[in-house]
Symmetry: C2
Subunit: 474 residues, 2 copies
């Protein structure tokens, strides 16, 4: 993990701002043992799942309340020191790295469910609650929260990166599912955005401005989410295909016909192999779609029949149905473990993840050429995709000690992103920009739009203390 | 309509900024006859469906292109003169009024569908396209755009106010259905926000910042929207109820059970009477729900059966089904005409509309007490509601010449808004803040959040030329 020299050439120029001892003393006075300067703690908070290595933060504050977050920000701001919010550390894009120095505010102890309103299908949580914890704690209500990035991420982190996952094709992303927030701003002030009403035209949509702002505009301390009734019937299936193209064309047709499929995930043959090894499964090692249908028993049956017809037109075969909750859990756990299965397939490797998302009609164009390029490169990779949304991920598995592998992987990534942008898509469907996609964002959005983001950032955080150096250079 | 003295006392203090003759000359030089200073044109652009009267704008520019909008903004900005975008003039909240003077930019001639991408379920339009025009022009694709405020509003205006309508309970609002924008900023620069990808985590969500910003941050010149496949089966029904409460409790249960109803609209007995008179219908003059179900034939049947069971538990009877497209159109036209039917029921009146939206479990609490209050006031009113969203509208029908009627109506409105806020709701579900709800917004969002909006506005529009004096005082 200690390869800063090598990482630095791929990072924007780093200016480490000084963290004066007076700040650390003030934090220790305020937070006692909840402010740690131990190297092991700082290092744990100074990395994420990205490939970058930079010096860790100077201190870590373990916040337990909104007041803690506010006080920590106020103290840091007085000293012009950056503040980086930390949930579980599952970012893929370098969001958590102290590229300009500073302190980490760990919100993982703010992990209470504050209010469940089953009669309104809403829940209010603290930011350190993880998605699995949330679903466990609301189980008795008959409701669930559908957004599921691969990791058991924190709701705060998921909101900050506008995350999604396998259910987004039907239930939307964090963009659609965060109703309201409590946010501590760059000045330490506590504001509320939104209400529990389902819709509102009450002024600027600060909720959605904060969602996806990657900690650069404030730290979320309460998050109100939409919930959904557990479907009366759920049915999941695996279908194998003779080629990735056949699986993709099946998906395109499912979406274009407006079938309200709840999940439709692509896994390529290679990745099925990795998952089989990792999770001791015996899935057919061919490109496959994992699908799930939600609705009434009759509705689910109807959807499944239509999808089977479409799949068989494209040579899809070997439909295997998972009807019990246990079978379904096993299936989706396998999918969610694809990333870890891949990482373990090449010991010591790191994954450079792509995250393009294109209009559904362009999915085959975007994906198939990129598969050819990846195969030709010789770099091992995994390929999984929320293909119903036009979103997929290559994970190029590189040896972090070999700069040339990273260069090859980044070159593949560049080609893929530029292809996606040409096709009317985005460089990131769900991971966020962080450090890794700043150049791509500029290409995608244009300097005018990025300047507008920068202007908003400067206005709301004039000292540039909130997670600086992410999304855009500043 | 000429009662400025009387209107002024309910408006925030107005500072009419000077429009120098040099600006008008420059606009005439650039736009020729497309810049009008005729009183009748200015007056038409200086009012909307709100109760306010203020002096009209000094000139109206009829824009036909993005370059026209950009040039008009640049010229106005050079002279520090406000710019107010105008679509069809159907705002209910004073959005279009030149409270600080200035010029109106009429985008109604920018009414082209720029790109239909049926295979991706998207369409890109100019801001002057109206919702009915859009649905007419895409009819052959088998797709439709569901958002339907009462008026045949422009897509630009609907985006600017974060509008919704009867289909929002299933399809969401403009918040969920605008994918991307081209915007001319306060400096006249043209930027793009978003792409045609279904989801994205690419930086700040400028699209949603613009949606609902009421023309205060820029003028939208291209709007990319989501479309939906026309449902295979549609079925609509009217059901009469012994009381408003019975209708409301039926709605709450429908939503809490997760039935994917496409429309569920409340009309009170009074309003049914007005609609019958206006549209020569013979609907039962009792509180009623108008409902619509979208899906497969089996799915629609299933939904309808469940809803009928729920309704009958609450005494709902006389289910009348509209199965042909003609019957359905007649039904929904009646609903959409409720506003105009009510206005005609009291010649010369103006409507003061409420727009609260509360969590669904609070709907009965919010609505029923307000009905009692309205009945006791003696002011005639209509009552319609997108009750599936927890959103409803009283329209208090007042004589604009009688200040005491307005005061009584505004007092009712105040009570209702404060009740909604106490119940976790919002002062405006879909109409926007405009002039009318600035105080309510402050109560709802708090001064911290409104200050954040103001800070963003100041940063993006330092000369305060974009529709100033709306949403918040500035």
């Amino acid at each position: 993990m200690n390869a800063p020299a090598q990482a630095a050439h791929l990072l924007p120029e780093i200016h480490q701002r000084a963290v004066p001892p007076a700040l650390v003393e003030a934090l220790k006075a305020r937070f006692g043992e909840r402010c740690s300067t131990a190297l092991v703690v700082r290092e744990q908070h100074g990395r994420d799942e990205s490939v970058y290595s930079v010096p860790p933060p100077a201190a870590v504050v373990f916040a337990e309340s909104t007041a803690d977050v506010s006080d920590a920000i106020k103290l840091a701001s007085e000293h012009n020191v950056p503040v980086i919010p930390f949930g579980v550390g599952s970012s893929l894009e370098g969001h958590l790295l102290a590229v300009q120095g500073g302190i980490s505010i760990d919100v993982s102890r703010m992990n209470k469910i504050l209010a469940i309103n089953p009669e309104d299908l809403t829940v209010t949580v603290q930011p350190g609650v993880t998605r699995k914890q949330l679903n466990d704690e609301i189980k008795s209500t008959g409701l669930f929260f559908p957004i599921d990035p691969g990791a058991d991420a924190s709701i705060g982190g998921m909101s900050a990166t506008r995350a999604s996952g396998t259910n987004a094709v039907r239930y939307g992303t964090m963009r659609e599912n965060v109703l309201a927030l409590e946010v501590v701003t760059a000045s330490g002030e506590v504001i509320r955005t939104g209400t529990r009403a389902k819709k509102s035209s009450a002024g600027y949509d600060l909720t959605r401005l904060m969602v996806g702002s990657e900690g650069t505009l404030g730290i979320m301390t309460e998050i109100t989410l939409k919930l959904y009734p557990l479907p009366e019937a759920i049915s999941a299936a695996i279908c194998s295909f003779p080629s990735i193209e056949a699986a993709v064309r099946t998906t395109i047709q499912i979406i274009q016909m407006g079938i309200p499929i709840a999940r439709v995930e692509l896994i390529d043959a290679n990745t099925v192999r990795m998952v089989n090894t990792y999770a001791k499964l015996t899935l057919r090692e061919e490109p496959m779609l994992l699908m799930e249908f939600h609705g009434s028993p009759a509705g689910v049956k109807e959807q499944a029949e239509t999808v089977q017809e479409i799949a068989s037109e494209f040579g899809g075969n070997a439909f295997e149905w998972a009807t019990t909750p246990e079978e379904r859990t096993r299936l989706w756990t396998a999918r969610h473990n694809a990333y870890f299965a891949a990482i373990q397939s090449k010991p010591g490797c790191r994954a450079i993840s792509t995250d393009t998302c294109v209009p559904i009609s362009r999915l085959a164009d975007c994906l198939l050429d990129s598969v050819t390029e990846a195969d030709a490169s010789g770099i091992p990779y995994f390929l999984v995709g929320h293909v119903g949304d036009g979103n997929f991920h290559f994970g190029y598995l590189i040896d972090p000690e070999l700069p040339q592998e990273r260069e090859v992987a980044e070159a593949l990534n560049h080609k893929l992103v530029h292809r996606a942008l040409t096709l009317g898509g985005t460089c990131t469907g769900e991971h966020g920009v962080g450090l890794h996609k700043m150049d791509f964002l500029l290409t995608e959005a244009g300097s005018g739009a990025v300047d507008m983001m920068r202007t908003i950032k400067r206005a709301l955080d004039p000292k540039n203390v909130m997670n600086p150096g992410k999304i855009f250079a500043l």
